[in-house]
Amino acid sequence: MSGERAALVIEARTRLLAALDDEVGDRLVHPGGKVDMYADGCVVRPWDLLERCPARVARPVDDFEESARNVARRLGRLTLRRWTPPQAIGDAVEDLMSDREDWPRGLREWFDGLDRAGVAAVRASTTSWAVGAARAVRGRPTRWVDRTMNVDVPGRLIRLAAGWDAQDAGRPTALLVMSDAVSSNRSRLIAGFSALACGLLTQTAPERVVVASAASGRSTRVVVDDGLLSLTVDRVVDVVTHRIEPDLAPTQPGRWCDDCHLLSSCEDGLAALGEA
């Protein structure tokens, strides 16, 4: 069994590297040594695979900043690592915020700059996230991760910033991703991305990925097989290809144009909204 799981990863890795050789060539080749992947490389995130417009994939919005909403997931996972039922999760959040030793440094520095009202906002968002996640796994023993899992593609300046949130405590080869993706197709891509990254990291493919939604209370269990990994590899290569040749990325106008950061310079988007 473990040999089969390892073989799946070898196959996916081979497919990924070969496709990158074909599509990317000598660009994004890792020069060796320490590099700033965010400045000089290509970082692929789960939602890139779900993006419907290639032009948006090619030029992702760059407005990230820490906020109560953004940190809720990271702090929520840290909370759940400490939480022991039947403790109130709100109390576990309070404990976490009093003892910040194991927080990532940047997150700790941001939090330390908040005043009392800012702390209230973070406690509120973290509690809501953590309760939603705990409810989604229905109390099942779960090993929550303590950081975003970054996995670099061998030999390339390409990073997969994977988004799995936990592993099943009784079955570590089962991953859990919290996501409100609504359709089975989108859940498959989210699952596949975590499975690929986890496989590259551990040299063995997880058996399954559960995509759980706190909002709907429903979970989708995705079996990790060759089909899923191949689909994911192809999507990852698409994303990288659009990023290195952004001018060649086609547009796909739709409802999403309304709040797109590229709208003012996108003729297709403006036309779709009747504003051209």
């Binding site: 820490e66 005043d115 009202a117 702390v119 609504v182 709907s216 739709g254």
Partner: protein
């Protein structure tokens, strides 16, 4: 979270919550399964019957609180695009109240409303709110915010064992994502894992119960029930300075909410398919984007639009508090 009110008394919300401490979930699991199956059937049939551009997981039909309310009022209003409304004082009052309740629940009384709201805007990276607050004079802000900060004291004294949560999501996803009814719940208490019955509170920044508030409350009850496989025992509306208005949940109320949602899905599918919307004029014509060209409009739309209405934001049916719909 166990702090008493500033005068040491039990707050109006805590009293309401504790009054439900021994209630059992009023709707059976089988009943919830039936409701979900009915809605799933309606959504799947309707989506499958859509010609041309039917809904998909990428572009679902969204039939949430706002759209359902609008469909009840006027189909033409429901078809207008009201997304992305600018912040107005009325909207800010609602946002401020949400923040002040969170403040009260997690760190205690709001003592410097403008300053603390600004801090919460910064912490939540709500730059629109930050800019709005900066554009106001101190006196004007104090006049607007001080009563809301004082009203948030009604949330003191809640026992931590109720696991209070704010701004939670409850979504019903049907037909593999082709139809979605999503809601954002202002405050949730109890429910699965807590050992307490489930309670839902909707915060209203205006005063007075309207007829359609019950429909709104029970839609949230339905969404939370189907999310948790456990029905809330009650949904309440809370108004600043007022009592908690209790809407008890029962199988019949959830059935009615589900039937209303099913009707909404069918009606929306017809409108998307091109059926001309029925025009049903009323007070909502005041904020309808089509008011200047709708032959059925009945009121003087030149005055008192939503952008300058400082008190009656919640009288705009279907707004989720930030000008977004559906």
């Amino acid at each position: 979270m166990t702090r008493p009110g500033s005068d040491g008394s039990t707050s109006v919300v805590a009293e309401w919550v504790e009054g439900h401490a021994d209630d059992a979930s009023p709707v059976s699991g089988e009943e919830l399964v039936d409701l979900r199956e009915m809605l799933e059937r309606v959504a799947a049939d309707t989506a499958a019957g859509a010609e041309g551009n039917g809904p998909t997981g990428d572009e679902p039909w969204r039939v949430g609180k706002a759209r359902l309310a609008d469909l009840t009022r006027c189909e033409r209003l429901a078809r207008t695009d009201r997304a992305g409304a600018d912040l107005s004082p009325g909207i800010v009052r609602g946002v401020a109240l949400d923040h002040f309740i969170a403040h009260r629940l997690w760190v205690g009384p709001v003592t410097a409303p403008a300053e603390e709201l600004t801090s919460m805007a910064v912490a939540t990276a709500d730059h629109d709110l930050e800019a709005f607050l900066e554009s106001f004079g101190d006196d004007e802000l104090d006049e607007m915010l001080a009563p809301l900060a004082a009203a948030a004291e009604a949330w003191s004294g809640l026992d931590a064992s109720w696991w209070p949560r704010v701004q939670t999501s409850a979504s019903l996803v049907l037909a593999d994502g082709a139809v979605v009814s999503a809601g954002r719940v202002d405050v949730e208490l109890g429910g699965p894992l807590t050992g307490r019955p489930s309670l839902v509170v909707e915060v209203k920044s205006s005063t007075g119960v309207r007829a359609d508030h019950a429909a709104e409350a029970y839609l949230y009850a339905l969404l939370v029930a189907l999310r948790d496989d456990e029905a809330p025992v009650a949904v309440a509306l809370w108004y600043p300075g007022g009592a908690v208005v209790d809407f008890p949940v029962a199988a019949g109320t959830l059935r009615a909410a589900a039937a209303r949602l099913a009707d909404g899905i069918v009606t929306w599918s017809e409108l998307v398919a091109g059926r001309p919307p029925r025009e049903s004029p009323g007070a909502w014509c005041r904020w309808c984007p089509d008011a200047d060209r709708c032959p059925s409009v009945q009121v003087d739309v030149s005055s008192n639009g939503p952008g300058d209405d400082r008190r009656a934001f919640d009288d705009r049916p279907g707004n989720d508090g930030r000008g977004r719909v559906g």
